[in-house]
């Protein structure tokens, strides 16, 4: 009984008759992210996410990267719990004054070479929250940023594209360029 249940589940949603139009492009993109990660680092890319003041919308789409449609893990990209094991800090939100110190601490705990990716309109320059007494600004106002991924929030596809871009640009940094 239990077995059939499990089988029917996996058969159900995962065997779509035809993938949505962007699905093929997505797979291709994801594969190039994976290839790039292995080529540059010789292993999978470890990502530490830091919410520095987000509305949590960006987190939802970062979470979505792990679902079966984008399947980050399968591609050798993984989220890690500690900054000490991270290659990339994925930072969201305007940096609130209340989070500035915590972000700096996380940044300093991440070994070099490291890349900081600022995710979302808020992370770029504070977005709609810029100018508040409680906001320090965008991520670049607190730690050096290698790449911005725009959007409010950026879609999972845009996030994957951004990760690919950071790997390409990271090449120089990693190989002493």
């Amino acid at each position: 009984m239990r077995k059939t249940l499990l089988e029917s589940l996996t058969r159900g949603p995962l065997t779509e008759p035809a993938p949505p139009p962007d699905q093929a492009a997505l797979a291709e993109l994801a594969q190039s992210v994976d290839r790039a990660a292995r080529a540059r680092l010789g292993r999978s890319l470890s990502i530490r996410e830091v919410d520095a003041g987000s509305c949590n919308g960006c987190e939802l789409e970062i979470h979505a990267l792990s679902n079966a449609f984008y399947d980050l893990e399968r591609l050798g990209l993984r989220f890690v719990a500690s900054p000490r094991h991270a290659d990339v800090l994925l930072v969201t939100g305007p940096v609130t004054k209340n989070m500035r110190e915590a972000l700096l601490r996380t940044y300093n705990a991440t070994p070099d070479p490291k890349w900081v990716v600022a995710v979302g309109a808020c992370a770029a320059d504070g977005g709609v929250f810029a100018g508040s007494y409680a906001v320090a600004g965008g991520v670049k106002d607190v730690v050096p940023v290698d790449l911005h991924i725009r959007g409010c929030p950026p879609s999972p596809t845009e996030l994957l594209k951004g990760l690919l871009a950071v790997l390409t640009s990271a090449n120089e940094k990693a190989h002493g360029g």
Partner: protein
């Protein structure tokens, strides 16, 4: 529910009488917030909302929290943001202000912040007790907050939360904002509830300026709200099971969540439907193929979801973790006025869509599930049942979707006006108070997330549980940090 406010400015005696009624459980606290020279308190009696105003002549007001604990954090926030003192309050420590701002009382009579005052956590007394501080940055992809556990071996004796890390100063940015800017801010109060917040803000404004939204917009708003509820409930059910070491469910509900977001994208051009609800109506009409995308989603969920529920129910290892874990007692849910699945899993029969109620829900049929157990399992089951109800609502919405305009212009200028709205977000009721000035700009806007009355319950629900069960309990509450911190 929307109302044009006749707020009542009350005497100290009336204020204290309201506090009596709260303490006696005769009414429910919906909100308590500061304003220029005064504080407002929103109360729910039956399905009626009343707003009382107390003028803080000498910068003080009689504490509500002194007799009604649900008000304590709200009063601490008023103290930190406005500087008004709640006389008689049992806890006057700052809240939201963690000592990093350049100003003190940013919404009141500002003064420069010098040295941050040290914050004292509640003391842990007893021989075998030890403290475990966690956060603000956590291991997973979750919002930041600080949790301090006092434990006896593996068991939690007390949890104390310290929140405010994602405080963005939304209510200060609201001041003087145009309607358009303000709507954007409201939509970004808690991204997971963006449709609900946009709706709450829009309804408060529409109440203030007495504008009637076209029926088509009313129905489209409800469609968005139900899609948002579905997406979040799928995400939550999966995440809770994941924390109970059952990843398969997480994978399956993740697919349903993604399909829901794609349907939202197909209908309204944005996966989370951000800025899709605006004062006066909706920003854009549903795409021509939107209804069929939603119908396909509903069919898919009806096919897959029952099997997932069966799986949830028949997996003993899962039940072991969720049943009797993290119990929020019904008396707390009642006295804190905890909304959403937290309240309904603990016997509190309240849903703002039904009462006070607002269109189109007043014309649609749906049930409000209520359970008594108050454990993680009950909070999962409320979500499961609400998924079914949302599907039924979506059927009705698609069937009845009226033709016609999707928005009316909102003329905000013309005297000071104010309005209030209470909207059922996926997590619980969101209260929005708005006051527009002569120039049509925002004078004051207060947004109260459901989390304000749920976070404190999590503190008690975890007591006596093992520390290792905290992530699971926390996930089953899924309170908003951003919505709370503002």
């Amino acid at each position: 529910m929307t109302m044009i406010l006749p707020r009542t400015t009350v005497t100290e005696e009336d204020w204290l009488q309201a506090v009596d009624r709260l303490a006696a459980g005769k009414c429910t606290l919906l909100g308590l917030w500061g304003d220029d020279g005064c504080v407002h308190m929103a109360l729910l009696t039956g399905s009626d909302i009343a707003v009382l105003t107390y003028v803080c002549k000498v910068g003080t007001y009689p504490s509500v929290g002194a007799r009604h604990p649900a008000a304590i954090r709200l009063e601490r926030a008023i103290g930190s943001l406005f500087g008004f003192e709640a006389v008689g309050s049992p806890d006057t420590r700052p809240w939201l202000d963690l000592g990093f701002w350049d100003v003190k009382r940013p919404l009141g009579a500002q003064k420069p912040a010098r040295e941050p005052t040290p914050y004292t956590f509640l003391p842990a007394e007893g021989e075998a007790l030890h403290q475990i501080p966690v956060g603000p940055v956590h291991a997973g992809i979750i919002e930041p907050g600080h949790f301090r556990f006092t434990a006896n071996g593996e068991h939690v004796v007390r949890l104390e939360q310290r929140l405010g890390y994602v405080h963005k100063g939304i209510e200060s940015l609201m001041r003087g904002a145009s309607l358009e800017q303000a709507a954007k801010l409201a939509a970004r109060t808690s991204g997971d509830s963006t449709a609900a917040y946009s709706l709450a803000f829009a309804q408060a404004v529409e109440a203030a300026v007495e504008v009637k939204v076209p029926p088509r917009a009313v129905y489209l708003r409800a469609l968005m709200a139900e899609l948002e509820r579905l997406a979040n409930h799928f995400g939550d059910i999966g995440a809770i099971c994941n924390d109970a070491s059952f990843a398969l469910m997480h994978a399956q509900t993740g697919i349903l969540r993604e399909r829901t977001l794609r349907a939202a994208q197909a209908c309204f051009g944005h996966r989370l439907m951000m800025d899709a609800v605006v004062p006066g109506g909706v920003a854009r009409d549903i795409a021509a193929d939107g209804p069929s995308a939603v119908a396909a989603l509903v069919a898919e969920v009806r096919k897959v979801f029952p099997r997932l529920i069966e799986l949830y129910d028949s997996t003993a290892s899962l039940q072991d973790r969720t049943v009797t874990t993290g119990i929020a007692k019904p008396e707390y849910a009642k006295s804190f006025g905890a909304g959403g699945y937290v309240g309904r899993a603990s016997g509190r029969d309240f849903d703002a869509r039904r009462a006070p109620g607002y269109a189109p829900y007043t014309e649609l049929s749906f049930e409000v599930p209520v359970l008594q157990d108050g454990d993680v399992n009950a909070r999962v089951w409320i979500r499961i049942r609400e998924v079914d109800e949302s599907l039924k609502l979506i059927d009705q919405i698609l069937e009845r979707l009226p033709a016609g305009a999707i928005a009316v212009p909102v003329e905000a200028n013309g005297g000071t006006r104010e309005g209030l709205a209470l909207i059922e977000a996926f997590r619980g009721d969101v209260l929005v108070y708005v006051r527009l000035g002569e120039d049509g700009r925002i004078e004051r806007c207060h947004l109260r997330d459901a989390s304000w009355f749920q976070w404190p319950l999590l503190e008690v629900a975890i007591e006596g549980n093992i520390v290792a069960d905290f992530p699971l309990c926390n996930k089953s509450f899924n309170c908003s940090y951003s919505g709370h911190d503002l």
